[in-house]
Symmetry: C2
Subunit: 395 residues, 2 copies
């Protein structure tokens, strides 16, 4: 084949398309695949051979007899490759090795200062991934891709951070090249909130078409799923709700230089500052949660009010975007119902009835694992995309 | 074929898929289509015959010689069917008959009171469409679909209005059944702002992935294009920005019962009220535009401030959604640069630099034709969707 359709509506039935059929369904025989695709039998055979050669598929255990000689069914091989996934936050990191179904094979969490710069941080990341692979008896040669979430804006196409405010030294650093050269696999980088949204959607709510995942941690941001896909926006900047102005806070100056930003009143860092001013010991968002859990009245009031401020911003977004579900995640969300109650209170009083009648407002189910699951999903969807597999087989 | 792939990633190559290839590209020979799709030659022939039978395709004028006997190329037939398109507003209507490339063949504009109820309005619509068809020498038998925009929320799947505030008697009225029975073709109904967004995107900015079309008329709403498709949201309620609260107007009661809604301060009806209070003659949004064009200071100040209020809401939406282009349309937008200036002023000062660096904020190019063009596009995309054509051929 010298020419191939490239349009979304185009209908190439390459090796990758056969793999997609097997990956999302049961094992299929050659005859079934011929019938499903309308392709010539010889074409199907040729593509199945290529997929078998590269171990993307395996003969399924049961052979199906169709009258004459038994026909072999082929199934997707989730163990064909490994995925490395990392979720790096401002102060802590979570790393995982997964199979091609995003199942975590080994996982570790660390304290980590992202402001030590890219080379030190990524060097540590490579060494730790190697240790983790060794621990489960595998090698870097089996890795098909690396997924990485970073706590700042990332140009998704190039994988480079774009003026990340809390990551000195990382601006425009070529993360994929640097990591790829050391790990020998394609590297995908995205904003940490985007991968959390992807993970939560994939693992918990795959049937929801339109979902917003709000991370309330040191800062505030959201990941947007529309038509079951991540919406990154024109510059990859979508979801940056932390700097939307809230009505009640026109006198608060934000680290971005503007006044009245949501993050400057309802983010974990801002709440910790207020608690310190009130004489409490609170370094960061985790301390805020600790105080809330201990029943500290000031902290409970503060987090409830933060929920209302976040709800105020989300009420507008509900009118605009009409999501099916809003998921609240991140460190601060672990303080439980207090924050959800504030969010619900404002959204249900401010948003339009049609947009809220079936709206779910829920706490994250994956919690602090959402990021690594999402990073793995991002890699798998990329590596196993029909056109990607076509290239690796045909090219 | 007894079974067919239904997944988006699935790769059915039915008659509809062949039609899609021809529709979005040049004329193709049978051999080229075999090569492009990987289908068996006999399958391609069978499907081309079905498409020729139904006049969806025609032999292209030039026959391409490939050494031996000349091969016939087949092309999409944009004149195979007609589309009826209507954009009904609160007080006026625009009707058009188009071909399958959304080219308007005949068009008319009317004053119309939508509050006279569905049967009277739709009865008039049917009679007028019949007159327009007769005028160009065609009949209802050639119509493949009807597209209709209504000034209120519509459940897109059923085509029924959902508690439309300015359309008494229309709630849950089965518009597609009623019209379909009289026009003998499938009927698609959507919110007027959605079809305007579709029309402007399709005709003016087809290469923009993420676009927001803001209609500023009697009320205020927006249509959202993401990944070049209309985003309707979980309940079809997306884009209802007219009832987002604006900071400056906490004392203004809106017709929705809430206070401080954008529409209650920056909509055409609200501005007309304020101008009347100031002693001017202003019945509706068109009168506001007339006064602005006449240089009335009060009206100019009012519309500039309305632009700022709209900009305030859009600034948050830009942070959240990161569109590539914002288009301002609707009656009031015809007042020109005054409203755009206000919108730009606030968005560029409030939204994040990454989200605004390549953001275009533009006046609608199609103006009051955006709706009928979009209604036609909605019908064409539905009728010519690969699976729809598959059904009409195979079923």
């Amino acid at each position: 084949m010298t020419e191939r359709m490239r349009e979304p509506s185009g209908q190439t039935v390459g090796a990758g398309a056969l793999l997609t059929i097997l990956r999302h369904g049961q094992a299929r025989t050659r005859a079934e695949l011929v019938q499903l695709t309308g392709l010539a039998r010889s074409t199907v055979s040729q593509r199945l051979d290529a997929l078998l050669d590269q171990r993307w598929i395996v003969p399924a255990e049961e052979a199906i007899s169709s009258g004459g000689r038994p026909a072999i069914a082929f199934a997707f091989n989730r163990n064909a490759r490994l995925v490395l996934a990392a979720d790096l936050g401002a102060t802590h990191a979570r790393l995982a090795v997964t199979d091609l179904a995003s199942t975590v094979l080994v996982e570790r969490a660390f304290d980590l200062a992202i402001d030590r710069g890219p080379e030190e941080t990524l060097g540590w990341l490579v060494a730790t991934f190697r240790e983790m692979l060794a621990e489960i008896g595998h090698s870097v040669a089996e890795v098909c891709g690396v997924g990485l979430g970073l706590p700042g804006p990332v140009e998704h196409a190039s994988g480079r951070p774009v003026n990340p405010p809390i990551m000195p030294g990382w601006d425009a650093f070529p993360v994929p090249d640097w990591l790829g050269a050391r790990l020998g696999a394609p590297v995908l980088v995205d904003n940490d909130v985007n991968i959390m949204a992807l993970g939560e959607h994939w693992a918990v709510r795959p049937e929801t078409d339109h979902l917003i995942f709000v991370k309330v941690g040191t800062g505030i941001g959201c990941g947007i799923i529309t038509e079951r896909h991540l919406h990154r926006g024109a510059q990859g900047a979508a979801g940056d709700i932390g700097h939307i102005r809230v009505t009640s806070a026109d006198d608060v100056v934000c680290r971005c230089g503007n006044v009245g930003c949501l993050e400057a009143v309802a983010g974990g860092a801002a709440m910790a500052v207020r608690l310190r001013q009130a004489g409490e010991t609170a370094e960061n968002s985790r301390d805020v949660v600790r105080l809330v859990r201990a029943g500290n009245t000031q902290a409970v009031q503060l987090i409830r009010q933060a929920g209302r401020e976040i709800g105020d911003v989300l009420a507008s977004i509900v009118n605009f975007f009409n999501p099916g579900v809003i998921v609240i995640g991140g460190d601060v969300a672990e303080a439980g119902e207090h924050i959800l109650a504030g969010v619900r209170e404002v959204i249900y009083s401010r948003s339009l009835p049609l947009a809220t009648q079936h709206l779910g407002i829920r706490a994250s189910v994956l919690g602090d694992r959402a990021g690594v699951v999402g990073a793995a999903v991002m890699v798998i969807e990329h590596v196993l995309a029909p056109e990607a597999v076509d290239l690796s087989v045909a090219g």
